[in-house]
Symmetry: C2
Subunit: 339 residues, 2 copies
Amino acid sequence: MASTIRDVAREAGVSIATVSRVFNNSGLVHEDTRRRIDEVAKRLRYIPNGAARTLSTRRTQTIGVVLPDLYGEFFSEVIRGIDQEVQRSGWHLLVSSSHNDRAEIEAALRAMRGRVDGLIVMSPDLDAHELAQNLPETLPVVLLNCAGDGGVYNSINMDNRGGAYAVTEHLLSHGHRRIGLITGPMRNHDARERLRGAHEAFAAAGATAAPELQVAGDFSEQSGHRAALELLELEPRPTALFAANDSMAIGALSALREAGVRVPEEMAVAGYDDIPIARYVSPPLTTVRVSIPELGGQAARRLFEAIRDTKGERRHELLPTELVVRRSCGARPGSGEAW
Amino acid sequence: MASTIRDVAREAGVSIATVSRVFNNSGLVHEDTRRRIDEVAKRLRYIPNGAARTLSTRRTQTIGVVLPDLYGEFFSEVIRGIDQEVQRSGWHLLVSSSHNDRAEIEAALRAMRGRVDGLIVMSPDLDAHELAQNLPETLPVVLLNCAGDGGVYNSINMDNRGGAYAVTEHLLSHGHRRIGLITGPMRNHDARERLRGAHEAFAAAGATAAPELQVAGDFSEQSGHRAALELLELEPRPTALFAANDSMAIGALSALREAGVRVPEEMAVAGYDDIPIARYVSPPLTTVRVSIPELGGQAARRLFEAIRDTKGERRHELLPTELVVRRSCGARPGSGEAW
DNA sequence: GAAGCTGCTGTAAGCGGTTACATCCGGCGC
DNA sequence: GCGCCGGATGTAACCGCTTACAGCAGCTTC
C-alpha cells in the first residue's frame, strides 16, 4: 500500500493538516517543520492521491475530450493541439474516443462526471438537448466541429465552406467549368460543408456544378484513386478535380499518372487540408490550409476561459482557412512559395 | 450543484446504500425499489461522481499515458492505438504529453497517483530507477519504445534494427554498395537503432558503410530534401538512398526529381514507416511497415493483463516489422502488390 | 411457536485528502 | 501583570461514494 498523508504526519510528528499545508503551499508553516515534512515525504515516497484531492476540492485540473471514431489523422492532430494547450497550464487530459453511436457517447459523457473541470465534445450525432441530458448543467463545455452549433454551448468550427469556396472560385477564375468534385462521405458534416462551399462558388460565378461530375469518396487515398478513374470515363472529361481532402487528391493524382493524364496541363487538381506531404507530391498540391491542432488548441483555450469565468457568455467561433496555390492547379501561385 | 446519491436516496425514500446497489447492479434490491430509484435518478439527473467512487473502491477504470513531446504522427497514432484498446474495455485514457525534460515527466508521473490503475510510459530520458522514484511501487507499468528496456518493467519496442536490416540487406542484395543513409537525429533512440540495423546488414554482407554517405536529418520532409541534395554532390554518387523514415524519403524524392535524377533507374530510394501516402508517391516507395497504432494497442493489452494479474511476470516484447518492396528501389516486389 | 432461513434494506465506517475553526503560546503595550 | 495579538499547529467536519455488517420482516420447518 502506498503511503498516505497520515503516514507522513505520524512519522513527522505533526497533524495531517500541516502536511496538507506543506503540499499546497498554503497557510503558514514553520520553516523547520516544512523541511522535516518534505524529508519524511520523500523518504516514504508519499504522493498525494488525486481522487481524494478532487473529492474535497471539487477541482480536477483535468479537461475531458469526447470524440467519435474519427478517420485517420484528424483524431490525432486535434488531440495534439488540445494537449499542447492543456500541458501549458499543467493540467491533464482525459480522452474518450472511438464512439460509434449515441449510446456510447452518452455513456462517455456521464463517465466524465467528477473527473473533469470542463469538456470538449465532438459529437456529430448528438444535439444540444441530448448533451444537456447527460451532463451536469454547470459543467463548462466547448463543442468542436459539431453540426448544429447548438446555441447554448460554446462552439468552434473550421470554416469548411469558406475554404471550399476559395478553391472552387480559384479554379473557376482560371476558366475551368467542368470541375470534378470528389466529395467526402455525405453523413460527414465537414464533407457536406465543403461541398456546399463549392456549390456556392459555382452559384456566385453564375455557373452550376454538373451532377455527373460529383463522386463520393470516403476520405481515403484509395477512394480518391477510384473516383478519379470514374471521372476520367466521362465525355467530355472534366478539366479540373477538386477533392474534399488531400488524401483523396493524392489518390487521384496517382490515378491520373497511371492513366497518362498530365497534371496540371490536362487536368488541374486541388485538395483540402494541406497535410505535410502535400507540397512534396508531384506536382505539389494546391490545397486549403487548415490547422487541426490549432482547432484543438483554440477549443482548449476557450474552455479554460469558460472554466475561469463560468458566467461568461457563450461564443461561437469559426477557424479561418487559407488557400494554398501550388503547381497542381496550373495557376501561378500568388505568394512566393517555391513553384 | 449537481445532485448526489443522498438526494436520490431522500427523494426515493431509501438509504444511500440501496441507491448505490442499484447503480452497481450489486446485491439484491426489490424490483419496485429499483424502478423507483431509477426514475428519481433520471429526474434529478443524478450521475455518480467518479472521484468519490475511485476513492472508495481504489479503482479508476482509467489508464494513464505519459509521453514526451513527440514528432508528428507518432504521438497521435500511438494514442489512437491505445485508445481503441482502452475503449473496447469501456475504460478511460488519461493523457499527459509534451514533456520536454525529466522534471516535467516526473511531475506528470506523480500527478497520475490516484487517477489511474496502470500506466504506459514513454520516456527516452528517464531510466527505470528514476521511474520507480516517482511511482507507487505497486502500479502496473508498461514501457513503450524506451531506450533501456529496464528489466523490472514490462516493455514493448518496435524492431527498428530488424526493419532497417531488412531494407539494407535488400539493397545490398541488388548490388548496391554506395548507399546513402539519411538518418534521424542521433539523440533519438529509434534513429540510432535503425542506423545500427543498417550497419549490421553491411557487416553481414562483408561490406562497410562509407561515413561520408551518412547524413543526419530530423525526420522532416525538408531535412530529407536537404540531405538528398548533399548526397548528390558526392563523387562518385551513391546509387541508393535509405532514409530513416518515409517523410525524409519523400523529401529526398522531391529533391531527386528537381535534380533530374531518375528513380529507381539512377537512384534507388527506400524509407521507413510505410505511412499511408508512401504507396501514392511517384514512384511508390519501398519501405518498412510498422504499425504504430498496433504498438500502442499491444502496450494497452499488455497493461490490462498486468492490471488483472499484478503478480504476473514482466515481459519484454518486440513488435515485428515487414519489408514492403515497391518501385522506388528498382527491385521487383516479392508479393503481388500492384507495381 | 421457536428457531432458522431468505430477501431486502439500513447504519456507519471507511477511502485520503482540504479547510474552517479552535487552540496554544510567546511577546508586546500599557 | 494582564489582556491582546498573531503565528504555528491541531481538531474535526466534510467531499460522495462503497460495502461489511446488522437488522427486520415473513416463511419454513419441525
